[in-house]
Subunit: 546 residues, 2 copies
């Protein structure tokens, strides 16, 4: 179908001029050129007339010629203001003649007189059919329609009719569209690496087919992300991703937070041992921010009281795992503390519950779509007066020891033990969401506030979903002297973070906060099993494209 | 006041062990060490007792000792759950005893028995006074309060009382707080580079004072941004900045757009001639995205239909002007087109009108605060059926020619002429907001769709506020062949943008969009005169800190 997408309205191309040749005289050359030009024009004219005649003959033979074909390249030639409709609205339009733009999801000709087209708009699809009818739909028209490539974008006019039986292959199954006009808006100019049907097929369907269906591997999907993202599953995943951001903002707005935007280009590599990306910055160098940690703390020192930021964070860690990206979206917040850092922890807990409720109440349809391809036990959390499960680090360790892990291995809880803990907690407390509080000081970054009574502990917490960390946070040190002391303890030269320290020297309220990885929340809520599936165009140590 | 912020609750510091010394025997050393330790402890004990005795004596003399002083470092020691109030709520609390955390904006002792404190929370302030009273407020307490440094953060308990006359030096002028308890939460440990009062002073006030007041220069402000941001003006500016983002999202949500997040790390330097920042990426290299242009177009090719993104964009241009940053917030959107690219232009127009209305209706108070320091003619736009002024590029040129600019200079409209046009338009059409449509093709990037009838023109537009461009947008080329041709015309090798091109080869709807610079909108709406004032922590070729 490559000719189908040929633009019919291309701007003229200029011929390069030829100068300074040796050989025949200039006037001779001019003469010859003129003659050649004349001949060429005559030939072109003849060809054009012939073509025109052929077209006319064809048009006479095809009474439907005006009702189908390739539209000229859409350059906003006109604006008739004809309303176009969504497939989702069709059930309420029985009997109406409608106009709609859609993709051809697939098509099936039945003999030479009928073709079925499955038309798709994002997550919705409907069956359309075109049947030969005198003065309306010609055989040529049906043949042309049947030849349109999968994934072509078409403009369809047709009448909505109740379907004789529910059409299972479409999401809108109660009606179908009887096509009267069909035009190609954008064709397909390449071999499809896989179809959207392939992309949406579940493992169960593939197995049931005896592996006749194409199993599309993740790398193939990511290499051809534009087509992969057209799948129902992906349309749903990214609708839910946007919803998480919206729910995050809504909750924080209603609690008096203000959105800030902090720079990703930093003059100094800071904060933690994790490696940072270096940037060439004019004649010097810069670094990409690993988090908005310092900026949001400075916003607190600047009296913003409660701030949040949604922005990219960059980690130059060469981790090729299922849960690491080199660039991901950080949902960060920071707030002043009046009496106790549990005010922050409870705010974050309220935030997560609000996100979970919001998703369950408003996005169940999308969750179900994703679950078809990624079957998962329903995500559980605790409701009501008992509230979210909160364990101290010590209690978490005890649970693991009870389960058979050697206590010596539990100075820190590694990823494997985190997951094990997730299973223990689910079995014992029936929740996939919980908080671990009071981490050992030595496991946390220098700016973490120590516990008031036991300096080996800290006022810090992690939040977990299905046994994986999705948020890390703490009360921060707002006293510049203690902060300097802790920096030195972790081998950081205070002078290298002068701007940051100065903020606290000018008086700063007690405060705390946390940072959430958007893709992790999405991956774990939906159990996508690989963080790349939760990122539109994921970046890892080996992937910078597309 | 440096001692005021001394943490009283520091974790114990450990003594390093001394090993492997030569000289006296180990046992001898141990003995000596023990003796020394004993002596030291005795001396410490004596000192402690002496100190304690002195404290007791002082406490006996000071009946108010419990009612003031420096709090221990806030490490979340306890949680009495005492409600704390906002200064803004005080007028409705006449007669109540309240507890609040605030900064000391300034203070003034009147003799040894009374001190006035101006307490500040963000944009609100209230007068507090402390008067010596038997059994309640001692002379020592007043002296201590009067000595607290400006910008200290204090916890205040006091009774709200109607003020005998409106207090002009506070934003809440109808009441004052009679202080019964005052504790220091966080002191100031450095010389203030300038006060928040200085930061908020208007040019008119400085001039009226005969330049007695400190005029705080922008560089000084930016070098000490944490204190600069505490000013009323800045608190208002960044409240409005957040509002612009919210209004942007609200309008787009109600028009069916979905938020996306695209990677800032790119495998190839793309899009336009503007220079890009290079990043070291493991063993290879990457580039920082100059805009989400390619990603949002791929999202359209992936059937997302209407997308927006709020994220940082990076420009490695060595432009040290009032309107360029090397990193700024892009508000980007892209949408499919049914009939004509003016659908997009009208959507963007609706978006701006919605932002302007939202700011005027809900943020007039903040706008007024900013106007005090940055006086500006009110931002004007056209309402009602006549709608936003739309000029073609040709009409804009004609206006400038009429005004005396030589036509030869107007192949492009440079910054100076843009501003001139802004003045002409304001005088003639009474609007600071307008659209220029139909730019010459040669002024636009390769992906811009040419006009259907005149290939020297393009389906593209810029939006202006007060004579400066705030949005650039267009219908994009969705046909891969025309796109390749245009790339070659601009000297771009199509193979270098293969992933991008592939998106269109798989079928893509006609589409268009635009990109808005958040800081520019804010700067021009409020007439801040320098884009750095519209960025929390601005980045330019010479500034990467704080």
């Amino acid at each position: 179908m490559s000719e189908a997408s040929e633009p019919t309205n291309q701007p003229p191309t200029e011929q390069p001029e030829v100068d300074g040749q040796t050989g025949p005289s200039k006037s001779e050359l001019k003469k010859r050129a003129k003659a050649a030009e004349k001949e060429k024009k005559a030939a072109e004219k003849a060809a054009k007339q012939q073509e025109l005649a052929a077209q006319q003959a064809a048009a006479e033979a095809d009474y439907a010629a005006e009702f189908y074909g390739t539209l000229p390249l859409h350059q906003s030639q006109s604006r008739p203001r004809q309303p176009r409709v969504d497939i989702a609205s069709l059930p309420s339009r029985d009997g109406e003649t409608v106009l709609l733009r859609a993709r051809i999801h697939n098509s099936r000709a039945q003999g030479s007189k009928m073709v079925f087209l499955n038309l798709r708009q994002r997550t919705e699809s409907v069956q359309a059919l075109m049947i030969v009818a005198p003065e309306k739909v010609s055989k040529q028209m049906v043949k042309w329609a049947a030849g349109l490539a999968t994934e072509s974008i078409v403009l369809v006019e047709g009448v909505v009719k109740k379907s004789p039986e529910i059409i299972k292959s479409a999401t809108v199954g109660t009606v179908e569209v009887e096509v009267s006009k069909l035009f190609l808006i954008s064709g397909v100019d390449a071999r499809l690496p896989f179809t959207v049907e392939d992309a949406d097929r579940t493992e169960a369907e593939i197995e049931a087919s005896g592996d006749q269906f194409n199993r599309v591997l993740l790398d193939t999907r990511l290499n051809n992300r534009v087509i992969d993202l057209r799948s129902q599953t992906n349309q749903a995943i990214f609708k839910i991703q946007a919803a998480v951001g919206d729910l995050f903002r809504q909750f924080l707005h209603s609690n008096g937070f203000i959105e800030i935007h902090s720079p990703k280009l930093q003059g100094a590599a800071t904060e933690s041992g994790a490696s940072v990306f270096k940037v060439s910055y004019f004649k010097g160098g810069a670094f990409l921010a690993q988090s908005p940690q310092l900026a949001k703390q400075m916003a607190i020192a600047a009296d913003f009281e409660r701030v949040y930021e949604i922005g990219p964070v960059f980690r130059a860690e060469d981790s090729n795992t299922l849960r690491h990206l080199t660039e991901f979206m950080g949902l960060d917040l920071e707030m002043t503390i009046e009496e106790h850092y549990h005010e922050v922890m409870e705010m974050l807990d309220g935030l997560f519950l609000s996100i979970f409720h919001g998703l369950r109440d408003k996005y169940q349809k999308e969750i179900d779509v994703v679950n078809k391809q990624f079957p998962a036990e329903e995500f559980k959390w605790r409701e009501g007066p008992e509230g979210t499960l909160k364990l101290s680090f010590k209690e978490a360790v005890d649970l693991l020891v009870e389960d058979g892990v050697a206590r010596e291995e539990l100075d820190d809880i590694n990823t494997e033990n985190e997951k094990r803990l997730g299973r223990i907690v689910r079995a014992k407390y029936e929740t996939d969401y919980y908080i671990i509080d009071k981490f050992p000081m030595e496991l946390r970054p220098f700016y973490t506030m120590p516990d008031p009574t036991d300096p080996t502990l800290s006022n810090s917490y992690d939040f977990f979903m299905r046994g994986e960390e999705i948020l890390s946070g703490a009360q921060r040190i707002h006293d510049p002297k203690l902060l300097e002391q802790q920096m030195r303890g972790k081998g950081i030269e205070p002078e290298s973070m002068r701007g940051y320290l100065d903020g606290f020297r000018l008086g700063c309220s007690p405060h705390g906060g946390g940072g959430i990885g958007l893709e992790r929340v999405l991956m774990l809520f939906l159990k996508l099993n690989n963080i790349r599936r939760a990122s539109l165009f994921p970046r890892d140590p080996k992937r910078l494209e597309p």
